[in-house]
Structure formats: C-alpha cells, structure tokens
C-alpha cells in the first residue's frame, strides 16, 4: 500500500461523495479538494528528482483548482438564486449506484488495456477513467448549470490523473495551455450563468425555453 494508492482511494471517495451531495456549497468544496489532490499527484508520482517545473506546475494547479475555481464558483453562486440541485434527472441514490457500476467498469476496462511497466499505481488508470465517467455523468444527469460546470472540472481532473498516472513526460507548456483553457471555460460559464439567471431567474438548463 503506497502513498499513490491511498491518494487514489481518496479520489474515488471524492467522486462518490460528489455524486451524493445536492448542496452547491458542499459540491464546490469537494471539487476543490479533488483539485488539490490531483494537483499534488505529480509530486508524489515523480520517480526521479523533482525539477523546478514540476513544483511550479503543482503550485499552479493547486492555486487554480483549489483556490481560483472555488472562488469563481462561489461568486457565481452568490449571483444566482439557487442553493441546491432540487430535482436532478437521476436521483442521488441512483447516482451512487451508477457511480459504483462506473467504478467496476473502469477497473474492468483497465485490465484490458496494456500499460507499460512505468506506471504510478495499478489503480491509477482505473481511477482516472472513473473520474472521467463521473464528470461526464454529472454533466448529463444534473439540471443546474453550476453543477454541470463542476462536472466539467471533474472530467478534466480525470484526464489529468490519467496523464500523471502513466507518468507521461509532461511538457510544462502543454499543461499550461490546458489549465488556461479550463480556466477560461469556467470563467465564461460563470458569466453565462450570471446572464442566464438574470434573464430567467434560475440556472435550470432544462427550462431555458420557458420564461
């Protein structure tokens, strides 16, 4: 049982608790926690000496995902008039069950993909798939725009876990580009949500046709 495995289990638990919580405040906290864990992953994964770039990257990701995103999401939450997801398309009990099924599928999936030996931990690719599935599932199963943005962030976390799990030599510039993209998306979604809530009095993406 090494450190990486323990972190992977924490990531599984953050995903499951995200699927089960309905309050935006709790969701934002969970997403922030997951972002911090994901950001610290490359520092633990590195098998050679850590370069200045890995520290910079970790610092950048922890700042963006652990501080900036929660701040932006909370800011949006204040400007819109909702506190919780009231009626998602799929209920919370069913969401957890689907989450567990997704976990099983992800583990099954990774047994069928050949990985090279230099892998962070045997559970890591499965957890990456699981995080990606959870993110996508949250995007399609939740009604409120704010939760959908969080689903997008979780989805991106999953891709990032996959990268660090396979110990892909991360180019600092590429990572920088990705984090900039994600940041811009969350930023723009915040503005969009503000306008949706101004026009409709809610951010329910299912009811955009009615006034």
């Amino acid at each position: 049982m090494n450190a990486a495995d323990t972190i992977m289990i924490f990531l599984i638990l953050t995903n499951l608790s995200l699927l089960a919580s309905s309050r935006f405040n709790a969701c934002i906290k969970i997403v922030a926690l997951q972002g911090v864990i994901v950001g610290l992953l490359p520092l633990i994964a590195a098998n050679g000496p850590l370069t200045i770039y890995s520290y910079l990257l970790a610092l950048l990701i922890v700042t963006v995902k652990g501080i900036l995103f929660p701040y932006l999401l909370k800011h949006t939450l204040r400007s819109v008039n909702v506190r919780r997801e009231i009626e998602p398309f799929i209920g919370y009990g069913a969401s957890i069950i689907i989450g567990v099924l997704a976990l099983i599928v992800s583990f099954w999936l990774t047994t069928h993909i050949p990985f090279h030996d230099k892998i962070l931990s045997t559970t890591a690719p499965a957890v990456a798939f699981f995080t990606i599935f959870c993110g996508l599932f949250i995007i399609v199963s939740r009604v409120q725009a704010l939760t959908q943005v969080m689903g997008y962030i979780v989805f991106e976390n999953g891709i990032y876990i996959f990268g660090s799990a396979l110990l892909i030599e991360q180019s600092f510039l590429v990572e920088l580009g990705i984090i900039l993209d994600v940041f811009v998306v969350v930023f723009i979604m915040g503005i969009t949500m503000f306008h949706i809530s101004r026009a409709f009095d809610h951010i329910d993406t299912d009811r955009l046709r009615e006034k």
């Binding site: 495995d5 289990i9 089960a20 009990g93 957890i96 499965a126």
Partner: protein, 311 residues
C-alpha cells in the same frame, strides 16, 4: 501450538464472557450520552437490573396474537446466541462453531430473528407496529447488501470465508491493506448503527410515532418476553461490535488473557464511540437513511473491488 482442549476451553470462556458482559454495552452507551449531556445518567448495570426485574414478572398477551407472537422473543434470543457462538472472543482463538462460509450464517441468523420480530409485530394487528415493521424491513433490506459485501471484502482480503478465519488472519497480518480496512470499518460501523437501531438511523429513546422503528415493534411485549428481547438486542450489539473490533483492532500479544482483555475493551470503546455519535448527531430524516445505507454499500463495493484488484 495449543492443543484442542485448551482451544475449546478458550472458545467457551470467550462465549461466556460475551453472554455475561453484553448487557454492559448499552449501559456504557447511555453513560457516555449522560456525560455528554452533563447528567449523571442511569447506572452502568441498569440493563441487568431491568432484566432481573422483567424476569420476575408475569406476561400479558393480547387476545389478537397467536403463537407467532409468543415464539418471536425466544427465536430472536436464540439467533443472537447462535451468532455469538460463531464469533471468536479475540483474534487469538477460534470460536465454538466455525466452518467454511459461516459469515453467511452470521448474517442470516439475524435475518431469522428480524423475520420473527416483524411477523410478531404484524401479528398484534396494530397499525402502529405494522408501520414500524415496514420501516425495519426497508432498512434491513438496504443494510444487508452493505454488510454482506463488506464481509466478502474482508473474506477476500484474508483469503478465508469463516469468521474465525478472518479474525485469525487479520491478527496475523494486521493492516495488510489499510484502505480496504478503513472502508469496511466505516461500512460495518454504519451497519452496526442501523441494525442496532441507534442514532442516526433510529432513536432508541423516543416513543414517538414518527421516529420509532425498532422500539415500536416490541411495544406489546411484557415480562420475561421483553427481557429476552432486551437481552437479545444487547447480544446483537455485542456481536456487531466484536466484528468491528476485530477489523480495527487486530492485536495479537500471544497471551490469550491479554488478547481477550484488549478485545473486550475494544468493544467497550466502540460502545463509547456509539454514545459519542448519539450525542453529537441528530437522527436523520427517514428518507435520508436509505441514502446513507446506499453510500455504505458503495464504500463496501469499493473495498471489494480494491481487494479483488490486488489479487
């Protein structure tokens, strides 16, 4: 290697200790709650006094009840005693009865006891008790998968499918897989609280229609029958607490006495923890309890997957 008669003697000693000490556990829970609330609380031995008092009294049976109502307390007490016979007192020695797959027997002995309690509650013909029976069955149906999956995770982790085997293997190789052990421990703790009708699933103190689940089903019992039920539920609490204690406290010093003392104090510590939980938490809304149990099942499935992946 200790010889067979010593092992048998130890198994019986552990079993007797459980039978004698079990009514102390609710006392410890109540005392912890009293300390938290700044009260003096009932004496630690209150349940013993209650049991002796009830055993001396006569019973009253309602005219609508049949034989089902009369045998239910005896069946549930017998089932609880039977379950205690499968559980070793400490990791160092085997239980009185042990065979391959007795984890399933353990789960379903309590299933039998629940079936008879529920049938007896329906037998009284009271709509109030019928409601309690319905809730009890709902939560049991959700707690059962969580419990069985957690047990199978433990069985896979230790490569044994008997409770004695799991207990001994987990002391031989303590904390082999800390994550799996933590996940199963949390699941077992949630199942313990639900199955034994403690907060947050059920409030053992209230006699209000809205909150009662287990208490309501035994309202019609009196005298020795009620004593059997109270004693049976304290044995059930002991059985679940010892399972949890074996998972989180795999101590093996080599001496049977010392192991047993540590184990029994572990159970008392779990009782105190239950008391703390009851003091700092409110009872969940009824529709939140299934969610909690589904979450517990999700944790145990995660634990099982992690054990299976490890091979």
């Amino acid at each position: 290697m200790t010889d067979f008669s010593t092992l048998l003697l130890r198994a019986h000693a552990g079993f007797l200790a459980a039978l004698v000490l079990a009514p102390l556990v609710p006392g410890i829970i109540n005392r912890t709650k009293a300390v938290f609330a700044g009260r003096q609380g009932p004496p630690l031995l209150q349940l013993y006094y209650d049991l002796f008092k009830l055993l001396r009294k006569g019973t009253v049976y309602s005219g609508t009840t049949s034989w089902v109502f009369r045998i239910a307390p005896i069946v549930s007490l017998t089932a609880a005693i039977g379950a205690l016979m499968i559980i070793p007192c400490a990791g160092a020695s085997p239980a009185i009865i042990s065979f391959q797959g007795d984890i399933i027997l353990f789960a379903y002995l309590f299933g039998i006891s629940r079936f008879f309690t529920v049938a007896a509650a329906l037998d009284t013909g009271s709509s109030f008790e019928g409601m309690g029976a319905s809730r009890e069955v709902l939560y049991a149906a959700l707690a059962e998968p969580a419990f069985l999956i957690a047990l199978s995770a433990l069985a896979c982790l230790n490569n044994r499918i008997s409770i004695t085997g799991i207990f001994i293997a987990s002391t031989e190789n303590p904390f082999a897989n800390i994550a799996v052990i933590l996940l199963t421990a949390v699941t077992l703790a949630i199942v313990l609280l639900t199955e034994n009708c403690r907060i947050p699933a059920d409030d053992p103190n209230t006699h209000l229609e809205l909150t009662m689940i287990h208490e309501v089903m035994v309202l019609d019992y009196s005298g020795p029958d009620f004593a059997y039920i109270l004693y049976g539920s304290s044995l059930k609490l002991w059985a679940f607490a010892s399972l949890l204690a074996a998972v989180i406290l795999p101590v093996r010093t080599g001496s049977f006495m010392l192991d047993s003392i540590v184990f029994i104090f572990g159970i008392f510590a779990i009782a105190a923890a239950v008391g703390v939980i009851e003091s700092i938490m409110a009872r969940f809304r009824l529709d939140k309890i299934p969610k909690m149990l589904i979450a517990a099942a999700a944790l145990s499935v995660t634990a099982l997957i992690l054990t299976l992946m490890r091979g």
